[in-house]
Amino acid sequence: MRLVVNDREYEVRHANEALLWVLHDELGLTGTHYSCGMGKCGSCSVLVDGVVTHSCITPAASVAGRAITTIEGVATRGHRGPDELHPVQQAFLERPLQCMWCIPGHVMSAVALLERNPDPSAEEIGAAAGENLCRCGGYNTVRAVVARAAELAREQP
């Protein structure tokens, strides 16, 4: 089975396993994090065709051939080449969270939100980010960061 992750094609053997563990164990992409294994916390979030998806409860086979973006591939989605951080990452770099185990959820949710809504209201930011848990308690930082990321994205050509 073939997976397309961060614009690269991979042949994978364990198609029946959850996408999260195929990313980890076969592809060595460990930036996507395990925390609950039941789609309750958001730490394992990836984008599948631009939609936030909990990779811990998504069978790898179900996303074969579709465009998967992990936290490792977000920077390349910037407009000025692979080294440029996405506006969401830039905004989090200005105001990071703490342990950041939960960061894939917050980054992916924000990237997807800004793709479909470049100027989200506070309520829309809350609705988009609301499912991601952060035990360090950085929720208010996330709200501010997503608003700032929207600003940065609008400033960039």
């Binding site: 396993e17 563990w21 395990y34 490792e72 977000v74 185990w101 848990l133």
Partner: protein, 712 residues
């Protein structure tokens, strides 16, 4: 099955008579000095490395679990090296460089406090070594060479200069370590006190940061480990052949003597599936139920260990008009988002592990004991949260057992279910107060605290239970147990609850439970005295430097939250305060009630940690404590069924989310010359401030966590 220790009630007889007086002194000493680490060694070469290429590396002798210590150490080092923090390569100290088992233990809000002077001394000594060598290379007297922005030059000259790397490149012969020079005065600080950006953020934002769960080596396997069905159950029989035949399984290891059964497979999914195919027989262990646990908490008034006795509390409380109340906190989990994890590679001569731990020394000791004759190398990774749970953990040992059996590196990453059900927990507590008031003053206050173990739960003292019984207290339970207020007569009695379920350190140790009880009761007394809760607290502050810091924190939090303003109908404020690790905190919470549910609308924090190295980091620590405290106040409660924690994941054990997190304002107060600590103190008053606000709004006094308006 379990006993409330100290129920013998022989305090006034024989040796007990002595103990009655020795104990309060001992408890005072432990409380005052805290369970603090040994001072880290002061050797520049241990923590710093300067290469001829000019790269200056600082090996941080504490682990980074989100608290920001890597950034703080970079700031402290840069301050004395005369560099920018961004010029430094910040690396986690590990067995090969910068490791010192005691200094590495990261706990108790103590990292910034214990490193504040030491890191600057080490950096200053290194700078001085380089400066003296630069003088030799210039052919100048050492007093004629100065350091400026990472370069050395002759006094009064701007050229020629030597960089750190150039000095190293031209150095011949042996280095001399000079006397530590005087440290920069605070007025000249350029980096300390600045919100320098986190040094670990970029790696974490691009998915390249290595945590215990994401540590990788080529050719590695994935391990899974069987867990007992009840706490304390002993493994007596393991039939492994069916597990051995499961897809991907490479090896099954059953060591009945060590109580260990685990297996290694090609993928984690295979390992976790195969572990259910083991046929295991367990014996013994506890069958504790929730009702038995709750019954055990309701200890009798007699017995216990008197930890503080001032004045004749019993006589004052014999008169009528005694006010009584009791408070409960439940068993609770750390719920760090990264479950326990480690990667191990065991060879004939060496055990090497990458592990998410707050205590690299504990990992090293465990491995040494289990693998005698092999050298031990510990690489602490980033932690996806710790909160005390990662002070003691065994994932590294598990991974090493499986690596030894397979001859390949093995990673063990716990499932959320194992992490929640096979942890140690914040112990349940029950606190009873009796007090009498006169003219708005507390004449006497008697406090009985029943708690499961905290420190001794994970680290029993030499002599075990006998020692604990003789001592009469667990040092962790003491945190927050003594009121800093001045009461004319004051007695504190501690009742140890020896539980058959594992309990241990949780953010703030005893602080959350103790401060919830004390600061709620202070509110009840204020109400009985018909005094404003702020005024009532101010009246009882000691006339001391600490009392003045409390006053400033209380006034700041109340001013900033509009304490004296008239409130919008449907909203009310609650106040609470505490001191922990000498950091003073006041918290005001504003609440409303909608559809029978408590909503926290805003939280205002005033916190005085003495001195702040990184204000942005300190604010995050305060906010993090508020959010975790609110989660405890509103949501979190574990129960026990047949000897095991019932809840197993975030569906049954919800933690607070964004929708329930209010705006949080943090006001930092710097009253001193030394940073005391920011990791835990703010969590203490959070629940009490919410409960006090609920009372102000509804007239209902909620005395159990988590708050439940319906249950009243």
């Amino acid at each position: 099955m379990f006993v409330a220790a100290g129920s013998a009630g022989t305090l006034m007889l024989g040796a007990g008579w002595l103990r009655a007086y020795a104990r309060p002194l001992l408890a005072d000493a432990v409380f005052k000095h805290g369970p603090s680490a040994a001072r880290p060694p002061n050797k520049p070469g241990l923590w710093f490395e300067v290469l001829a290429s000019g790269v200056v590396t600082v090996y941080v002798p504490k682990v980074e679990m989100g608290q920001g210590i890597h950034t703080v150490v970079a700031q402290l080092a840069a301050e004395e090296l005369g560099l920018e923090p961004g010029d430094l390569k910040v690396v986690q100290a590990h067995s090969r460089h910068g490791f010192s088992a005691n200094a590495m233990f990261t706990y108790g809000s103590s990292s910034t406090h214990t490193l504040y002077v030491t890191v600057r001394q080490a950096a200053a000594t290194l700078r001085e070594m380089l400066r003296l060598e630069a003088a030799t290379q210039f052919g100048l007297a050492s007093r004629d060479v100065v350091a400026k922005a990472g370069r050395f030059m002759g006094l009064g000259f701007t050229v020629p200069t030597l960089s750190f790397g150039e000095v190293i490149a031209a150095k011949r012969g042996v280095w001399k370590v000079p006397k530590t020079p005087a440290l920069k005065p605070r007025a000249e600080f350029r980096h300390v006190g600045q919100s320098y950006p986190r040094v670990d953020a970029r790696a974490k934002l691009t998915g390249t940061a290595v945590y215990g769960y994401s540590a990788r080596l080529g050719g590695m396997l994935y391990g899974a480990v069987a867990r007992p069905p009840r706490y304390g159950a002993r493994l007596v029989r393991a039939v492994t052949d069916r597990a051995q035949k499961q897809p991907g399984v490479i090896a099954v290891v059953a060591d009945l003597k060590a109580g260990f059964v685990g297996l290694a497979a090609t993928t984690r999914t295979q390992a976790n599936a195969a572990i259910t195919a083991l046929n295991l027989t367990w014996e013994g262990g506890t069958t504790l139920s929730q009702s038995e646990l709750e019954h055990a908490l309701s200890a009798s008034r007699s017995g216990g260990a008197v930890l503080r006795r001032r004045g004749d509390t019993a006589r004052v409380l014999a008169a009528p008009g005694v006010i009584e109340a009791s408070y409960h906190t439940p068993l609770a989990a750390h719920a760090h988002l990264e479950p326990l994890a480690a990667l191990a590679n065991v060879t004939a001569s060496e055990v090497e592990v990458w592990v998410s731990t707050q205590s690299p020394g504990q990992v090293e000791r465990d491995l040494k004991a289990a693998f005698p004759g092999r050298s031990i190398r510990v690489h602490p990774t980033y932690l996806g949260g710790g909160f005390g749970r990662k002070t003691t953990q065994h994932a590294a040992l598990e991974a090493a057992r499986l690596s030894r059996a397979t001859g390949t590196p093995v990673h063990v990453g716990w499932t959320r279910e194992d992490d929640l059900q096979h942890a140690f927990y914040r112990p349940p507590t029950h606190t009873r107060f009796r007090a009498r008031l006169e003219h708005g003053q507390v004449l006497a206050l008697e406090q009985h605290t029943v708690s499961g173990d905290v420190i001794f739960g994970v680290q029993p003292p030499p002599g075990g239970d006998a020692t604990i019984k003789a001592l009469g207290f667990d040092p962790g339970v003491l945190i927050g147990q003594f009121a800093e207020y001045h009461f004319q007569a004051y007695t504190v009695v501690n009742h140890r609850l020896k539980l058959p379920i594992p309990t241990g350190p949780w953010r703030g140790l005893g602080s959350l439970a103790n401060i919830f009880a004390l600061e709620s009761f202070m509110d009840e007394l204020a109400q009985q005295a018909r005094l404003d809760p702020l005024e009532f607290r101010l009246r009882h502050l000691p006339r001391s430097a600490l009392g003045r810091r409390f006053k400033q924190a209380l006034l700041t939090a109340t001013d900033e939250s509009g304490w004296t303003r008239s409130r919008t109908p449907g909203l009310a404020l609650g106040l609470a305060c505490c001191a922990d690790v000498n950091t003073v905190v006041a918290v005001v919470s504003e609440v409303s009630v909608q559809d029978g549910r408590v909503l926290v609308e805003r939280v205002t924090v005033a916190v005085d940690p003495g001195l702040v190295v990184n204000p942005a980091g300190a604010r995050l620590q305060a906010v993090g404590s508020v959010v975790m405290g609110l989660s405890s106040a509103l949501l979190e409660r574990l129960t026990v069924t047949n000897g095991l924690v019932t809840e197993s994941n975030f569906d049954s054990y919800p933690i607070i989310d964004m929708a329930n997190t209010p705006p949080i304002d943090v006001h930092l107060i710097e009253s001193g010359e030394v940073p005391f600590g920011m990791g835990e103190p703010v969590i203490g008053p959070v629940a009490a401030s919410v409960g006090n606000a609920i009372f102000a709004l509804t007239g209902q006094r909620l005395r159990s966590l988590p708050f439940d308006l319906q249950g009243v």
